[in-house]
Symmetry: C2
Subunit: 229 residues, 2 copies
């Protein structure tokens, strides 16, 4: 017996995942928000995630601590690697090995317990220029795996990994969110935002975000410590 209207939504507290939550909600799903404390350099985005999960009336919000620091290999979880201040080429050093695979796997575990077959993830076009685990064929491969990996799959259910932003530019995501009344001032995208939610204004994430607002002709409500160049 499966409850078709339950969905797990991966929620980082950033612009993309918040828009994804707004979309899942609009589609009528009963949403369960899932965030990760994975050794990010700060907890500002988790505080944002908590606030957002509450404001969207999610049924439950879990924050799972995962130890990616022990694995290493990324500027986001390894203190010995600096976050770059200029645009990166190819796969960026902020790429966290197997991150989306791990996040989706925890979501899958929770989905099994909840009898849910739907998982939402806010990966998008800009990300997948650099991150292999943001491509549409990766998402399809995960759907196939999820269906084979689970009790529900053995019993004939099919898992759906919803990636509603996957083909959208940052500007299109913002326009979609604004149409759904997303309050972007409450979201945190910066890799090194401080506790007062001030974004650095120099990392890739700040740059993409700010360009997105410009391209969408919408005022960027983000507080930046440094003027974006």
């Amino acid at each position: 017996m499966t409850d078709f209207n339950k969905a797990i939504v991966l929620l980082s507290g950033g612009l993309d995942s918040t828009t994804t939550l707004a979309i899942a909600k609009k589609l009528g799903f009963e949403c369960y928000a899932l965030s990760f404390d994975y050794g990010q350099r700060h907890i500002t985005e988790l505080l944002a995630a908590n606030h957002i999960a509450k404001s969207y009336g999610t049924k439950e919000h879990k924050v799972i601590k995962i130890d990616l620091g022990q694995i290493g290999g990324s500027a986001l979880t390894d203190d010995s690697i600096d976050i770059p201040k200029s645009p990166s080429q190819g796969i960026p050093i902020t790429y966290v090995p197997a991150r989306n695979t791990l996040f989706l796997s925890y979501a899958l575990a929770w989905a099994e317990v909840l009898n849910a077959n739907d998982i939402f993830i806010g990966v998008n076009a800009i990300d997948y220029s650099g991150y292999p685990d943001c491509r549409p064929k990766y998402i399809s491969a995960y759907e196939n795996l999820a269906t084979l990996a689970t009790k529900a799959g053995v019993e004939g259910a099919k898992f759906k990994i919803h990636a509603p932003l996957i083909d959208l530019s940052k500007a299109d995501i913002i326009k979609k969110g604004i149409a759904l009344n997303v309050d972007y001032a409450k979201t945190v995208s910066c890799y090194q935002a401080d506790e007062e939610c001030y974004a650095c204004g120099v990392c890739d994430s700040c740059r993409f975000r700010n360009e997105g607002f410009k391209d969408a002709n919408i005022k960027d409500p983000t507080l930046y410590k440094n003027q974006i160049k």
Copy 2:
């Protein structure tokens, strides 16, 4: 640049994973052992894993703490569910949601950091009668996912998930291990072994293990608290 001779070996400290490590070693891989502290009811198997990793000269042994208790849904991680004392039908209550998917995902993350393309997992025929994530088609689906999920995959490498026990009975696994000089007295399979390594003698895992030794005509070196019926 990939180092083709490095492999991650998932090592629980049990009979199957220890045999798998012996096979990986025999095949000439430089082995990196990966264990999980996932809220099992005891740590005896992790102590066994540590001992075994050392005795096989693995290059490194990581124990990653993962919080499956927060997800719930299994007798192995949820104190409110008892471990059954009689053989179970269908998918057993000791099934941990998405466990192998999570374990393989951590292995994949480490493999990316090490530039390894090979992961060994000791799933086998007896398990996959009940656990969906022990079937050959699940393993193939994970290989496909791993190749799409990673930098190495983008650059043309293919990940191999080795499941050398997948078609073997418990007796065949034991025979293979004995041929490779595995010391099974040092391995722990029981779901509730005590700190002196005494196995309960009543759970499914004890039963399968003991039957395996009987079928292989090899004396079972396990210390059981209760006589196996």
